[in-house]
């Protein structure tokens, strides 16, 4: 399959007359032209229902209902503070690590509620991998970075070397590092480090991969490589990505969920909520909600 970012990234920012024509942030027609056929209703691998997340007494996100389709890329977009990172961190129970965080509602993974009291969060994280905003390789060799997950999760592959190679090939990093597997991971460039982190996630053989703004610390070329990689990985994995970059969401995702933050009338606390969730080309060409349209056309956020 052809995987190339073909949507113009350069929004015509120069023409910034405030009363002028609507800024075209994303080239709608080209988005629609690149999209493949996906079912109307996602074949959900994961879903969340009536999800409320609190940090202490503060309600960060309320009543999120979403389902994430198998072998699809779902993008969560929205302005800062709209709770999209909070939501993605609920999906593999990383929010458990935040002191005072509390989750209400149901998050289903293959039908099981991962917040059920019999569910071990460790086991959840083994099935649902995560890639973070800043590349965070371990201060070890490239090889050991990849082998770490399989080792701690007690996987007994016939050959760890093969597993490492497969993971690195899966993340399109093998050719660049095959001669220096024993080198420290910190010797890699930022983009390579992020692909190493993706490879590290692949090695534990999850079926869902969460990506929390995986390209925000990378240059455009490294970003394009990660995007290519994501298009490639969706054939085997279900990918959920949080991104600040609307062009990125438009380029890579099959479906897009738009979040925004709304201030409480009495307390003034800003709580995130899901505004609209639909196919990406619909969100970017013909959104149902006015707020979505305002955001994607660059009027706020």
């Amino acid at each position: 399959m052809t995987v190339n970012p073909i949507i113009a990234t350069g929004a015509p920012m120069s023409d910034s007359t405030p009363t002028g024509a609507q800024r075209q942030v994303v080239d709608v027609e080209r988005v629609a032209a690149t999209k493949r056929a996906i079912p109307d209703v996602p074949r959900a691998v994961m879903s969340c229902a009536e999800l409320n997340v609190y940090y202490g007494d503060f309600l960060a996100v309320r009543e999120v209902n979403l389902s994430f389709g198998e072998n699809e890329i779902t993008a969560l977009i929205g302005p800062s503070g709209c709770g999209k990172s909070t939501v993605i961190r609920c999906l593999n129970r990383m929010n458990d690590l935040v002191v005072g965080a509390r989750v209400e509602g149901v998050v289903r993974y293959h039908g099981q509620n991962i917040y059920h009291r019999d569910v071990d969060p460790i086991e959840v994280r083994r099935r649902i991998g995560m890639v973070f905003q800043k590349p965070n390789p371990f201060p070890k060799s490239i090889y050991d970075n990849i082998a770490y997950g399989p080792r701690v999760t007690g996987m007994r592959p016939d050959s760890m070397d093969d597993l490492v190679e497969q993971a690195l090939r899966g993340a399109a990093l093998w050719d660049e590092v095959k001669d220096k597997l024993k080198q420290n991971a910190y010797s890699l460039s930022g983009g390579q480090q992020q692909r190493l982190c993706i490879a590290r996630t692949l090695a534990t053989e999850p079926d869902v991969i969460l990506m929390d703004e995986p390209c925000s610390a990378l240059d455009p070329i490294a970003t394009a490589r990660i995007e290519d990689l994501m298009m490639d990985l969706r054939q085997r994995f279900t990918i959920i990505i949080v991104t600040h970059n609307m062009q990125q969401a438009a380029r890579v995702s099959d479906r897009t969920a738009f979040f925004t933050a709304q201030a409480d009338d009495t307390t003034g606390n800003r709580t995130g909520l899901l505004v609209e969730y639909d196919r990406t080309e619909k969100i970017f060409s013909n959104p149902s909600e006015k707020r979505t349209e305002d955001y994607i056309s660059g009027r706020f956020g």
């Binding site: 002191v99 460790i122 995560m130 965070n136 371990f138 997950g149 701690v152 534990t204």
Partner: protein, 304 residues
């Protein structure tokens, strides 16, 4: 925009009032230098005097001989050196695992919001500032209890000295370990946990190894402090002439600083010379240990 550029280009870069070359700034700098020099001069004079005094006795006898009142010119530190090795070895065995484990608990597992965690933290900070002789008193109490169970008469035993010194350096080790654990970025922990590692695996395989250089540095500095310590050991009754090698946890002992303290108080000139030589040897050892600590820090220091 243009006007701003014009002004920036045409204004001469005059010396600002109160800048780094004003008389006040220079005076302040001089005062700082003076303070530094005062400290340094005292140190140099002290070391030089000790060196000159001890120089005639810096020989092999100093290490191989026991101390002696009959032949003061050949008195040595054999028992004290071996006693120091025994005591510091046991101190390290007691204090390092306990201190590192306590720090791991406090830093990685304890809920910092709880009042008892905070109480423990405040107490550890305070313990680091307690006069060392208090630790001697505490150890005397513990040994009194131990004597009910174990059969020993003298309280000047290796395990007693090690207990006192271990208590003494425990807060230092805990604080140093916590500092170096805290320096390991949260992303490393998050990355490990997101791969399905348990919190315990994360500590054992990621956080602790990354913190080892800092822990080693802190521990060596704590141990070198323990080596130079005399007060708590004096309280246990370590000021005795010992003319045998310590051979067990319940063996009597003396250490370098204690024996130096002892020799300095003797009337014979030769013994005081031996004490000076002992000080030089002890200083050299401490310098060596701190040097190793600095080497470890520089070699393994990581900027995240």
């Amino acid at each position: 925009m243009a006007t701003l550029a014009d002004r920036a280009g045409t204004q001469p870069l005059r010396r600002a009032t109160g800048g780094e070359r004003s008389s006040r700034a220079v005076l302040f700098l001089l005062a700082l230098w003076l303070s530094l020099c005062t400290g340094l001069v005292f140190l140099v004079v002290l070391v030089a005097q000790t060196l000159v005094e001890g120089l005639p006795r810096l020989d092999a006898n100093l290490v191989t001989n026991y101390t002696s009142l009959l032949y003061p010119e050949q008195a040595g530190f054999r028992a004290a050196i071996l006693g120091t090795v025994w005591v510091i070895g046991c101190t390290a065995l007691l204090a390092i695992p306990l201190g590192v484990a306590a720090a791991i608990y406090l830093e990685e597992f304890a809920d910092n919001e709880r009042w008892y965690t905070r109480l423990i933290e405040v107490n550890i900070q305070n313990l680091a500032a307690v006069p060392t002789i208090i630790y001697g008193l505490l150890t005397l109490g513990i040994l009194g209890g131990l004597q009910l169970v174990l059969d020993f008469q003298n309280r000047n035993v290796v395990i007693g000295g090690a207990l006192a010194l271990a208590l003494l350096i425990l807060p230092v080790i805990i604080i140093a370990t916590r500092e170096s654990l805290r320096a390991v970025p949260a992303e490393i922990r998050a990355g490990s946990l997101a791969l399905g590692a348990t919190p315990w695996q994360t500590v054992w395989r990621q956080t602790l190894p990354a913190a080892i250089p800092g822990i080693a540095t802190g521990t060596i500095i704590a141990l070198s402090r323990a080596i130079g310590e005399a007060a708590p050991l004096l309280l246990l009754g370590a000021v005795v002439f010992i003319r045998y090698d310590p051979n067990g946890l319940l063996s009597g002992f003396t250490t370098m600083p204690v024996q130096i303290y002892n020799l300095v108080a003797q009337p014979q000139e030769e013994l005081r010379t031996a004490a000076a030589a002992g000080i030089v040897a002890l200083l050299a050892l401490l310098l060596l240990m701190n040097g190793v600590a600095i080497l470890i820090r520089n070699k393994f220091q990581r900027r995240w």
